[in-house]
């Protein structure tokens, strides 16, 4: 593993857009090269070197590990479009972390701001704290969002997480979110995404779900009236092969979309 260490050296008054910080962009570059890569601060184009101390150098994508230290809570778009390698962030991180990522792994040892893992195509995003709104969601105007990959949030995810998620059985692609708890509208417009919540969810989970699996091990503040009880189960078989054991009430929904539906929501009994 070739490690590249970035340490932020300035306090930010405005957000810093850092879409150039990815293993793909660092491939074959020395620290001096990396320092010249562009960032955007307010309305000015700046360089990584203007804002970060950089040490190390990279090899190929798969073996590049970027470690970011210092307060990057207002740094946006880290990991955008990455296809492999690893990024570890040792603080809270700004919006759009890992958006459009298709491979590799990002670990945030802190909280993430809104749109974490938006439009995820693959790979893994792990957040040890809470995440903001729109985790693993589609961007505005897109009717397909996260298509593959896994997002794990230990804490809470904000509203509309997994919006417009889309799975594909023929391609064996099962976008999956694991989270500690969730705000309103979890899995809205779900088209096959898998969601497992360790704790509680707020209102309208599974809103307008066409198909998919949402498992809630805690409580739901209020289930949608368009969900109907099917029965009780002792375990849930997820489409990605995983099995979740426990007593759950099985609900079908969302019956606003079709009269008969394969969409399922499992609520701890």
């Amino acid at each position: 593993m070739a490690e590249i260490k970035l340490k932020i050296k300035k306090k930010l008054t405005f957000p810093l857009e850092a879409d150039s910080i990815t293993p793909d962009n660092f491939v074959g570059k020395t620290a001096a090269d990396i320092k010249k890569l562009p960032l955007f601060y307010a309305t000015k184009q700046v360089t990584i070197g203007d804002f970060f101390d950089v040490t190390g150098k990279s090899t190929d994508v798969a073996n590049t590990k970027i470690i970011i230290d210092g307060d990057v809570s207002n740094v946006k778009r880290i990991g955008e479009n990455m296809t492999g390698g690893e990024i570890v962030i040792n603080s809270d991180v700004g919006m759009h972390i890992g958006n459009h990522m298709s491979g590799g792994k990002i670990t945030v040892n802190g909280n993430a701001d809104d749109w974490a893992g938006a439009m995820l195509q693959g790979g893994e995003l792990e957040i040890t704290g809470d995440a903001g709104h729109y985790v693993g969601s589609a961007y505005r105007g897109y009717w397909q969002g996260m298509k593959n990959g896994t997002i794990k949030v230990k804490g809470k995810v904000g509203v509309e997480s997994m919006l417009w998620a889309k799975s594909s059985k023929p391609s064996n692609m099962w976008p999956t979110l694991y989270c500690g708890s969730a705000d309103a509208f979890l899995g809205i417009h779900n088209h096959g995404g898998t969601i497992v919540v360790e704790g509680d969810v707020d209102r309208c989970a599974g809103a307008d779900q066409a198909w998919g699996s949402i498992v809630i091990k805690g409580k739901a503040s209020r289930l949608l009236p368009s969900y109907k009880k099917v029965g009780e189960v002792n375990e849930v078989q997820l489409p990605n092969g995983e099995v979740i054991k426990g007593k759950f009430i099985e609900y079908s929904g969302d019956h606003t979309i079709t009269k008969e539906t394969k969409g399922r929501l499992y609520l701890a009994a």
Partner: protein, 441 residues
């Protein structure tokens, strides 16, 4: 009989999104003040009268010095305003909803030059409606279609008696139409609201809903429409029997319309309320003809959305910081930016965020230099560092405005602006020239 007044007919009222186009204004020939307004509602009428000179109407440019507004020349005021904008790192250009389309166009030009954020009042109002339309489309029609065809009219989270006072008499309720020759008696009005509003009190059916539970109710209606038997007996304070009855009523209409307002956009589900309302309308078209229309508040916020969209591709909350337009409400919307204290200078045009933004956002707005293009003293302009006095569009200058159903109508000039006021368009043009100079272009 000597004519004492000049009468202007077929005037478009510049207050709300109903954009009534039948006002008649009498202007005194000698003093050029408005003396009578016919056909306007209370609010529109008041707007015309308040254009007359008064102690709350600005007539000269002002710069704040030692906490007081001092009268200065246009040259000095524009110079200071341009300085503020050019020296800012993240300027916000906000408002644009109470002015005409050419001025809105100038706003786009200025925002692009400054790599600024460009936003309009939809951000705090019907922005969620636009978000929903971007996700699930919309079945729309013009108000004339409603007047002539609609036999089932639903007001959901909207109180037109108070917010769009002549809407019911011109388009949606009392008026006779081509296929609704008996007017009110040919129509069935339904109001859904947590309060028994004055609109509900003139309706045929009032559905009293628990506040902030609209999404659940619409989901229930849609599921019943699909033929599902629900597990629950009551949703959001409404019984299943009432829901079933409503569904039958909707299905058996000839032409239905849902008018919706802030009850849906400003409660916690925001655009998802509109999303499901739009889908309900779409699904009702399996049975009959149904459309929906957002009850736009400002008379030309629709125009601001149109002008911004055909120039930049986006209707509001647009960021130019990387040299090209990007759109993301929540990230580039004015209140969110202010709450993160991400804006370091603001130009407010034809709007009053001081009154209408949450207090915490206004607090951050006031921390930084503020320019107001504004005819009247408001909680925004009173605290601006530079005040550029504007002529009132639709009264003192003409232009185009878009009604809530996106029909463009021509605003008339009824009288001259007082003092040294210039039109919003001209002020923005002069500001653009000043900024160009300072940017060395």
């Amino acid at each position: 009989m000597v004519e004492k007044v000049r009468t202007v007919k077929d005037v478009c009222c510049p207050f709300c999104g109903t954009l009534c186009d039948d006002l008649e204004i009498d202007v005194d020939l000698k003093t050029d003040v408005v003396v009578e307004v016919r056909n306007g509602c209370q609010i529109g009428t008041k707007k015309y009268f308040s254009s007359n000179p008064s102690d709350h109407r600005y007539t000269k440019p002002l710069i704040k010095e030692n906490g007081e507004h001092k009268e200065v020349s246009w040259e000095e005021a524009l110079d200071k305003a341009a300085d503020i904008l050019v020296n800012a790192q993240r300027p916000l250009l906000y408002g644009f909803s109470s002015t005409e389309c050419e001025a809105q166009s100038k706003g786009v030009v200025l925002a692009e030059m400054l790599n600024a954020i460009l936003d309009n009042t939809a951000s705090v109002c019907h922005g969620p409606s636009l978000l929903a339309i971007q996700d699930v489309g919309a079945s729309l029609a013009t108000l004339g279609e409603i007047k002539n065809r609609a036999d089932t009219i639903i007001f959901w989270g909207s109180n037109p008696v108070h917010a769009h006072p002549r809407h019911l008499s011109r388009y949606s309720d009392f008026i006779r139409g081509y296929f609704r020759t008996d007017g009110r008696n040919d129509r069935y009005i339904i109001v859904v609201d947590p309060r028994n509003t004055h609109t509900a009190q003139v309706a045929d059916k009032f559905i009293q809903i628990n506040p902030s539970e609209d999404y659940e109710l619409i989901q229930a209606i849609r599921a019943v429409l699909r033929g599902s038997e629900l597990d629950v007996k009551e949703v959001s304070g409404v019984s299943i029997d009432d829901i079933k009855e409503l569904v039958e009523k909707l299905k058996s209409s000839n032409f239905g319309v849902i008018f919706f307002g802030m009850g849906l956009t400003q409660t916690s589900a925001h655009h998802r309320n509109i999303d499901t309302a739009i889908r309900l309308v779409t699904e009702l078209n399996d049975y009959t003809k149904f459309i929906l229309i957002p009850m736009r508040g400002h008379y030309n916020v629709t125009g601001a959305n149109q002008v911004f969209a055909w120039n930049t591709g986006y209707a509001y909350s647009i960021d130019f910081s990387r040299g090209y337009p990007r759109y993301n409400p929540g990230e580039f919307s004015s209140v969110d930016l202010l709450m993160r204290d991400e804006v370091d200078a603001a130009l407010i045009v034809a709007s009053d965020p001081g009154s209408n933004f949450p207090a915490a956002a206004v607090k951050n707005l006031f921390k930084h230099p503020l320019i107001a293009i504004e005819p009247h003293k408001t909680p925004t302009s009173a605290f601006a560092d530079v005040v550029l006095p504007a002529a009132i569009a639709g009264i003192e200058c003409e232009g185009t405005a878009y009604r809530m159903d996106t029909v463009p109508l021509r605003l008339r000039k009824v009288k001259d602006a007082p003092g040294e006021c210039l039109s919003d368009k001209e002020i923005l043009e002069r500001l653009i020239e000043k900024v160009k100079e300072k940017l060395g272009e």
